[in-house]
């Protein structure tokens, strides 16, 4: 039987292929290619899900109590990340009947999975005691569904900035075929509301879990603080939208800043002087 990390390496290229097809269908306006892109995305998402299930099964086949849901380290969370980006994108494509968003969405899945497959260790590690909790699954899933929505909002916001102020280019140019900026603004807002709900749930499940593992629900450690910073940024965005003249470009910029905060929460925090690594500052 094929092993999960090989399958997921292959799926990386399927996501990349989907991105390429979306790009071709945008540039050359071929409906057939667009349809093919959608189906390739469906295949990639299904393959990604299969990879996760396979890995789950593999962990139970290792002797010594290694078995656990594959949501415990950077590799596994990135695999899940690319899956949820793909899934949420498919919903957006269906709802707004537009495939150009795929050009900005599929590369996100591709890069997430490419980094997982080729930049991190795919070795199945046993769970340390602190991670042995059902809250692990709830926490990782809610966080990454939220992050995925923010990632897509980031892609759509970039589209907005490309399109902004060029609404008159209605014709058949590349930009003209982008959705109107009103629709892009709406899609961004919908995605961010969805992401905000899940980020909130993610922070909460993390807090409840921390309280059951360590007896405190909030400790202002860098990871916790950065997740709250991300929350503040998106909360700002949701309120800024209520102010006159703040729709459009400022929202798109806040959405991009928000996603950078997400990235930092996920990757950057590891570079910070954490607990007991104060020595790094003495340099």
């Amino acid at each position: 039987m094929i092993n999960s990390s090989l399958l997921l390496s292959i799926i990386t290229f399927v996501f990349g292929f989907a991105a390429l097809l979306y790009l071709i269908s945008w540039v050359f306006q071929k409906e057939v290619v667009g349809k093919a892109a959608t189906w390739v995305t469906v295949v990639a998402v299904a393959g990604d899900a299969a990879g996760i299930l396979l890995r789950w099964n593999e962990s139970y086949n290792i002797a010594g109590g290694y078995g656990h849901a594959p949501l415990s380290n950077i590799y596994e969370s990135l695999v899940f990340f690319s899956l949820t980006i793909g899934l949420i994108y498919l919903v957006v494509e269906r709802k707004y009947r537009n495939r150009i968003i795929g050009c900005f969405a599929m590369p996100l899945s591709f890069f997430a999975l490419a980094y997982a497959s080729f930049g991190t260790s795919a070795k199945i590690q046993p769970l340390i005691p602190a991670l042995k909790s059902n809250w692990l699954i709830a926490h990782v899933m809610t966080c990454f569904v939220g992050y995925s929505a923010f990632a897509l909002a980031f892609g759509v916001s970039i589209m907005y900035l490309i399109k902004a102020g060029k609404n008159e280019t209605e014709g058949n140019s590349l930009l003209g075929r982008l959705p109107t900026s009103a629709i892009l603004d709406e899609v961004t807002h919908q995605l961010i509301m969805f992401g905000f709900l899940f980020l909130t749930a993610g922070i909460i499940t993390g807090a409840v879990w921390a309280n059951s593992a360590w007896g405190r629900y909030w400790g202002w450690d860098p990871k916790e603080t950065w997740s709250l910073i991300t929350w503040f940024v998106y909360a700002t965005l949701l309120h800024a939208r209520l102010m006159r003249g703040w729709r459009g470009t400022p929202i798109a910029i806040l959405s991009i800043v928000g996603f950078l905060a997400v990235i930092f929460t996920y990757f950057g925090v590891n570079l910070l002087p954490g607990l007991h690594s104060y020595g790094a500052m003495k340099g």
């Binding site: 010594g64 109590g65 290694y66 709802k95 707004y96 590690q125 046993p126 340390i128 005691p129 602190a130 042995k132 909790s133 809250w135 709406e186 919908q190 509301m193 969805f194 905000f196 709900l197 909130t200 749930a201 909460i204 807090a207 409840v208 879990w209 309280n211 059951s212 593992a213 360590w214 007896g215 405190r216 629900y217 909030w218 202002w220 860098p222 603080t225 950065w226 709250l228 910073i229 503040f232 940024v233 909360a235 700002t236 309120h239 800024a240 209520l242 102010m243 905060a261 925090v269 910070l272 002087p273 954490g274 607990l275 690594s277 104060y278 500052m281 003495k282």
Partner: protein, 460 residues
């Protein structure tokens, strides 16, 4: 800022205007986001000596004055939180005065004229009996909307319907929950860890046993403490706690938080245990296994003398090299002087270096006789605010769901005879998610058109 304009009004009014603005919310949220970054780059609550070394006396003094080393509890950070909470409360009160009237009404008002003017309205002409069409429309609408009422107009009837009026409360639920969480959080956990303060528990905790398990890789798998709670001399509770499964008794939580190897060198040897020694005679080349105990002399075969194991040391340095755990024994050859012999467990050939008549080693498997001793680290907390915080958590998730994904939707369907046909107008509005609502109206129009048995024509 808006508040500059109201200097004329009363002091209270000016303050109210300041706190009621969304701009303030945005400014405070951005400030909280950016200032929070500081504490992630400068480690919090370290010792003053470390900070002094890292920043030098001047910067250290400035930063200490500004509470940068404990910034999340500082007056300015807490002040911003209070500002946010006050802003949220005042905004909510202000808005509720208006939306409250919209939300809490028995008979929702529908301004027919405004529905007739809406751009998104749809019109169609149906054939058939007007009574039948009215009934069909009413039934279809009642299925999709919780409130449905038929009113007569100048030329016919209008069916007014709505659902989700209460969902306008969602945003207030979210705001309330932020206040609840912040308040619950300020019901403070008493921090004793870094203080010279002692609190007495109303009961005694006894640790009956502690066990650590490891994976093959050496990473810890599980640590488990067997605890007994004794109150007034009686056992009131017994429970094994592991990480993620604490013991709770009378508002006190006991967590399995850490473990470590005992300070007295980690491992002990039960002095009653038998240890197998191995003697290899240089003269005959033969090997003899002899069982013994600590401090119990044994005769070495072939008359090579007497040997006694004196002690066990978990960590031994030999000529500056770490040889790990080892036994120390005394060898007394026949007619010779006693000499000390070192037997590192990991290196059975070690004793050949002595170049004696006999090579002594400890037989493999001796490690099994040792019991590594661990201690358990428990964390004990009492946080009366946690219930309130959890209520806030639940409310904020529910509130977000309502605020983001449920909406107050209203429709008006007007039915009147027009020539030989029946004219039907469908018009609706929602406070959120227009795209979704448009699809819904589309479905409604399609559904209503089925009242026409002959033909369906949509005229927009």
């Amino acid at each position: 800022m808006e508040n500059e304009a109201v200097v004329k009004g009363s002091y209270f009014e000016g303050l109210w205007k300041f706190f009621v603005s969304v701009k303030l919310t945005v400014v405070v949220l951005l400030l909280l986001a950016s200032l929070s970054i500081i504490g992630t780059f400068i480690p919090q609550n370290e010792s003053p000596a470390d900070y002094l070394r890292a920043f030098g006396p001047f910067l250290y003094h400035v930063m200490a004055t500004l509470d940068v080393f404990d910034m999340y509890r500082s007056w300015w950070f807490q002040g911003l939180m209070v500002l946010l909470v006050v802003n949220i409360i005042i905004c909510s009160i202000d808005r509720l005065q208006v939306t409250g009237k919209i939300i809490f009404t028995r008979n929702p008002k529908f301004n027919l004229a405004s529905y007739r003017r809406r751009k998104s309205r749809r019109k169609m002409k149906l054939n058939g009996d007007i009574g039948h069409i009215e009934n069909h429309c009413q039934a279809a609408i009642a299925k999709m909307f919780s409130y449905c009422k038929v009113v007569s107009t100048d030329h016919g009837v209008a069916i007014t319907a709505e659902k989700g009026r209460w969902t306008r409360l969602g945003v207030y639920i979210v705001h309330l929950s932020v206040v609840v969480i912040d308040e619950g959080d300020s019901i403070d956990t008493i921090q004793l860890r870094f203080k010279n303060e002692t609190r007495k528990l109303p009961f005694t905790i006894q640790c009956d046993d502690f066990d650590v398990q490891f994976y093959d890789s050496g990473a810890p798998k599980e640590f488990r403490s067997k605890l007994t709670i004794i109150e007034n001399g009686r056992v009131v509770m017994q429970k094994d706690i592991i990480v993620n499964d604490p013991l709770r008794y009378k508002g006190i939580n006991i967590f399995q938080s850490s473990y470590g190897r005992s300070a007295n060198q980690g491992a002990v040897l039960d002095s009653a245990k038998e240890i197998e020694l191995r003697f290899q005679s240089n003269a005959s080349g033969k090997t003899y296994n002899v069982k013994t105990q600590l401090e119990k002399p044994v005769e070495i075969p072939e008359g090579l003398g007497q040997f006694v194991l004196d002690a066990y040391h978990p960590q031994v340095q030999f000529r500056g090299m770490d040889v790990g755990s080892a036994f120390v024994g005394t060898l007394t050859p026949k007619g010779g002087d006693p000499s000390q012999v070192l037997l590192p467990i990991k290196f059975p050939r070690f004793d050949t270096m002595r170049k004696g008549d006999v090579v002594i080693s400890v037989a493999p498997g001796v490690e099994a006789l040792f019991k590594e001793r661990f201690f358990t680290g428990l964390q004990i907390t009492n946080d009366p605010g946690v219930t309130m915080v959890y209520i806030g958590f639940t409310l904020i998730v529910l509130g977000c769901m309502v605020t983001f994904f449920m909406s107050h939707q209203q429709v008006v369907v007007e039915i009147q005879p027009k020539g030989k046909n029946i004219a039907v107008m469908v018009s609706g509005k929602t406070n959120k998610n227009r795209v979704g609502f448009d699809h819904k109206l589309e479905r409604l129009v399609k559904n209503l058109s089925e009242a026409d048995t002959t033909e369906y024509r949509k005229v927009v």
